[in-house]
Symmetry: C2
Subunit: 432 residues, 2 copies
């Protein structure tokens, strides 16, 4: 009387994309809550709500150059051969609005960043002026109104929508939040993800190995990947391959965490106790067990007590690839972050949607917005892009670097775009 050895194997392996979709449906759409965070501490956090501008940046008309604040009309007709004299009425220094007003025929010395005095509507550059001993300044160049002035709100206008909920914050975002004077940002609470290893042969680093034992590599690897993604990894240690011990650790982990990752003992062999323990704890249990991927097929995906659970194979390559395929997307979902196709700093190729102007002899860093087009990406240069327009680094998708030797990029030309933010997967791009 022969009886088959217990080994049901994996009858069916679920295709990777199907498995991911099925699993992610069980993962709560985040943010799981929000916390208030000082901008200086918010690097890498994910916005829990849209970022709108509570005030104008700059908050007042400022000199964009060192020179003299003037009424543009008083300079009309001025040139090197026809310098026009203006009476010097005083100084406008950064940090306070001068009480004095610039009247017809007058001017004030002004430094970059200083508020434009009342009455003035342009700044004549130092290089185009000559100061006379008698308190007279000669202007050698005609100015149009608001020339060399950073207008109030030209970077950001009060009420402007700047970033959508779900955006991850980089250095430029932090800078802009500070420019806006925000003291707190509403960011997603970091999901707590418990990580448990199972296996009688596993030892923590620092222990002395007996024959037959190995060091547990998966738990620290998974915890590092979680930290990098912005989750709080909760180290649940190593459980023995014994049903009671496993159950106790898993129940404890579920009560303390938003999601649970168990590594090892997750296949379908006689010692693979984890799937049964997990299934016994309540619905829906594992909705996928066995995924059509290599390495990494013996992975289990599901939820218990409304908490997502991922069972990783003990083989470390399999485990880490499964983390990438399932755990990190779940973390991003719990954070409320859009699924990204590419990280910030990566490059994509795109076609210029319009001409992108370079500066002869200078390496130009043009900020562009990427748009989907039928044959890939189109890069549209931002119209407002002066060196003071901080929002261009926040609203822009990426940078196009135009070498000093090149005058610009023609419309339709292919360019390389270095991403200023993670590139959303197609279709997931949020309306701005």
């Amino acid at each position: 009387m022969a009886r088959p050895v217990k080994s049901k194997g994996f009858d069916t392996l679920t295709p990777l994309e199907v498995a991911r979709r099925r699993f992610l449906r069980l993962v709560p759409q985040g943010p799981l809550g929000s916390v208030l965070c000082r901008p200086e501490k918010a690097l890498g956090r994910v916005l829990a709500g849209p970022l709108r501008a509570p005030r104008n940046v700059p908050p007042f008309d400022r000199a964009a150059m060192d020179g003299f604040a003037v009424r543009a009309v008083d300079t009309f007709g001025a040139s090197a051969t026809n310098p026009l004299p203006l009476k010097l009425r005083g100084d406008a220094a950064p940090g306070r609005r001068p009480a004095l007003k610039v009247a017809a025929g007058g001017c004030m010395r002004i430094a970059t960043g200083a508020p434009l005095p009342y009455g003035a509507n342009a700044v004549a550059m130092l290089e185009h002026c000559r100061e006379r001993a008698a308190g007279l300044v000669e202007v050698e160049s005609a100015l149009t109104p608001w020339e060399n002035v950073s207008r109030v709100g030209e970077d950001v206008r009060r009420g402007d929508f700047l970033l959508a909920s779900g955006e991850r914050l980089g250095p430029a975002d932090i800078a802009l939040a500070c420019a806006l004077g925000l003291e707190r940002l509403d960011v997603a609470r970091a999901p707590r993800v418990g990580v448990l290893s199972s296996g009688d042969e596993l030892r923590a680093p620092g222990s002395r190995l007996k024959e037959g034992e190995i060091y547990d590599a998966n738990r620290p690897g998974v915890l590092a990947a979680l930290r990098e993604e912005g989750a709080v990894g909760v180290d649940l240690g190593i459980a023995r391959d014994e049903e009671g011990a496993l159950r106790a650790r898993i129940v404890k982990g579920l009560s303390r965490c938003d999601a649970l990752v168990v590594s090892g003992g997750t296949s379908v062999g006689p010692r693979d106790l984890v799937p049964e323990v997990v299934s016994s704890l309540g619905g829906p249990g594992l909705v996928v067990h066995g995924v059509a991927m290599r390495p990494g097929y013996p992975v289990g995906l599901g939820a218990v007590r409304k908490k997502p659970v991922v069972l990783l194979p003990g083989s470390p390559v399999a485990a880490l690839l499964n983390v990438d395929a399932f755990v990190l997307p779940a973390v991003r979902r719990m954070l409320g972050e859009n699924e990204a196709a590419l990280p910030r700093g990566a490059t994509v190729r795109a076609r210029a949607l319009r001409r992108i102007t370079g500066a002869p002899g200078l390496t130009t860093f043009a900020r562009v917005v990427l748009r989907d087009s039928k044959d890939g990406f189109a890069a549209e240069p931002l119209r407002v892009s002066g060196s003071g327009i901080l929002s261009s680094l926040v609203r822009g998708s990426g940078l196009v670097v135009i070498p000093a030797s090149k005058e610009g990029v023609e419309s339709g030309e292919e360019v390389e775009v270095r991403l200023l933010r993670a590139l959303p997967v197609r279709g997931a791009r949020r309306a701005r």
Copy 2:
């Protein structure tokens, strides 16, 4: 008697690459020292010395499958129609080497990960065995020696060179360090970079602005960028535009930090005091003042008291682009990190150097090494790449994903490689 207004302007602008080279020559080649760090805390740190394997991984021959440990020779000729009987001598469980030896005609039940009993040299998979009531196991498939066995050292051999000094550690590196039982890693001390803002109009977030004042955005932005790169940003606050105040803060910053960044007041106008203050503190001072880039030309680069100094323009876009162009490369140099062309997680196109085998019906994650070739990159699949070969995620440059519908990638075919590590700039690739 006309006298020209003080405004020397920038007589010459140094090309960007020249400026970077000239500046980086003044930046000490790191690491500036090393610290010992537990692997679990080493995510994102840069190795201060090469990582070599102090032991074999796995440390012993292990079962790679659930089944029966056998002598391969005893299975020669076995098939479904000619099952060969073996005497079941006991169990080999993970965690300890069994005392029993597998003798001719014998076998032991074994679970994945358990040490292979002495005498055995293969594992017959459960699926290919039938267990008889009388303690007899029938093997229905012939095995070659070491089939279904993870050999000692097959992942990493003691003494193996794994990672060069200067590599930044990701989750797989952390996992491998743990698998090796390393309790401490020798990582680069994080360089301390002081960040000072200068400007009478600047206020810290949380202050109430008076007319003419703005919030300081550059300092928090620069500090965030530094943190992200692995430096310790030292906040030196806001200095007034006054020579004594500036000098005091700069001297204090230089004494506490490995490098200094000053934002604002760095151009050539009458109120731009920072360049003079810096130059007065000792050689070589600024070696570049004015770079042929837009935005960002009024940047100053140099060193004082052997500490690199970067003077950023106050305009925030200019400042952040200068950080990217000069400050972060300096940080990487002080960390001893190779200059990277692309970050981990980015993708590059490459041609397959050999056939890359997929698995029919499974999404395959092949690990490849990228090599420079005359027309771009060539991707060479790693030969040893089982799901237990953790080192494949450390030695590999990237992953090639072969869809389930595809049998593999032909030699010469173009593939997309997702980088497992930052891609070194050409020529900077270190010997392995």
